[in-house]
């Protein structure tokens, strides 16, 4: 069993209204030295796969097809071995 961590972030140049708003909120809370906030999604998949490579490949396919929206998002994967 593998644990695949999927990070989905907005592509460069795509507006991130949530990030802008969180930055404003932090500023109002007196955290004045936050230059930028970017938001994304984080997912953990528990995956049965024969090898780490296989897990990565399958997860990459899932990310392309479903987990990330390729039009506006990028994704990144990390694979770890997990106890069953």
């Amino acid at each position: 069993m593998y644990l695949v961590k999927v990070y989905v972030t907005l592509k460069k140049g795509i507006l991130d209204p949530q990030g802008v708003t969180i930055r404003g909120a932090l500023e109002a809370l007196d955290y004045k030295n936050v230059r930028e906030v970017r938001t994304g999604k984080y997912m953990e998949l528990e995956l049965d796969a024969p090898t780490a490579e296989a897990a990565r490949e399958e997860a990459a396919e899932m990310a392309r097809r479903l987990l990330a929206n390729p039009v506006i998002e990028d994704y990144r994967l990390e694979v770890e071995e997990a106890r069953a």
């Binding site: 209204p17 949530q18 708003t21 969180i22 909120a25 109002a28 809370l29 938001t39």
Partner: protein, 234 residues
């Protein structure tokens, strides 16, 4: 008697609450700006529904830091009536004025529809006009109304009669099918221990006039009014 309706950036039921209080109930009402720091002179404060700060990060998470929320907390501590509706309920949770948290609806989609709730506690300043066990037909409109609290908290809420409304079938039975969002224990409305801060997901202001298809929500406002009048009389 004077009610205040808080306007947060992104509130969108503020005008509806104002209309219900002012024009339907005929009670004096003001808008309160989120940057205000003083709520003196008000008998009740309503945190309306909507999408304060766009619901960004988490519902209610940013609004609860608005300057006015410190004043609302003081007001509540002093026994003032605070009603949070929908996003207002979410803000009360984030502010810690009520226990627990909201998650995304089971099924993930926003749901706008009439549902039924059963009055579990008719002995509160917000529900005194109802009969215990009365079933109300009220609209909901939310994407994150899936109430969560840890088991101890839930037990305490139940034991203390703090669950005020529960999603039910039209005949009052409590069922999984009647639960529109996955809330634990079908919880639709909660009150604090002291009994003066109520959070509810359904929108009573949308069900206060016959022309809108239900008047079942008006009892929330009339209960508050009755309670305040009685309190003032004492």
């Amino acid at each position: 008697m004077k009610f205040g309706v808080v306007v947060f950036p992104g509130s969108n039921c503020d005008a509806d609450c104002y209309h219900a209080v002012k024009n339907v109930l005929g009670v004096e009402c003001d808008y309160l700006w989120h940057e205000d720091t003083d709520v003196a002179g008000y008998d009740a404060i309503i945190l309306p529904g909507g999408f304060s700060y766009g619901d960004y990060l988490r519902t209610g998470a940013i609004a609860r830091f608005s300057p006015i929320m410190a004043a609302v907390a003081d007001f509540a501590r002093a026994g003032g009536l605070v009603l949070g509706i929908c996003n207002g309920f979410q803000i009360l949770l984030e502010a810690g004025l009520l226990p627990g948290a909201m998650r995304r609806n089971v099924g993930l989609s926003f749901r706008c529809e009439f549902i039924h709730v059963r009055v579990e506690n008719a002995d509160t300043p917000f529900t005194g006009a109802y009969r215990p066990g009365q079933v109300l037909r009220l609209p909901i409109a939310h994407g994150e109304g899936n109430y969560y609290a840890d088991p101890e908290t839930l037990a305490a809420l139940e034991a203390g009669g703090q669950v005020v409304l529960r999603y039910s079938e039209p005949d009052g039975r409590i069922s999984e099918a009647a639960n529109p969002n996955g809330s634990l224990h079908n919880i639709a409305a909660l009150i604090n221990k002291e009994g003066n801060v109520l959070g509810m997901m359904p929108h009573p202001e949308r069900a206060s006039e016959a022309i809108l298809g239900s008047e079942d929500g008006r009892g929330i406002f009339t209960s508050m009014l009755r309670y305040l009048e009685r309190r003032r009389g004492r």
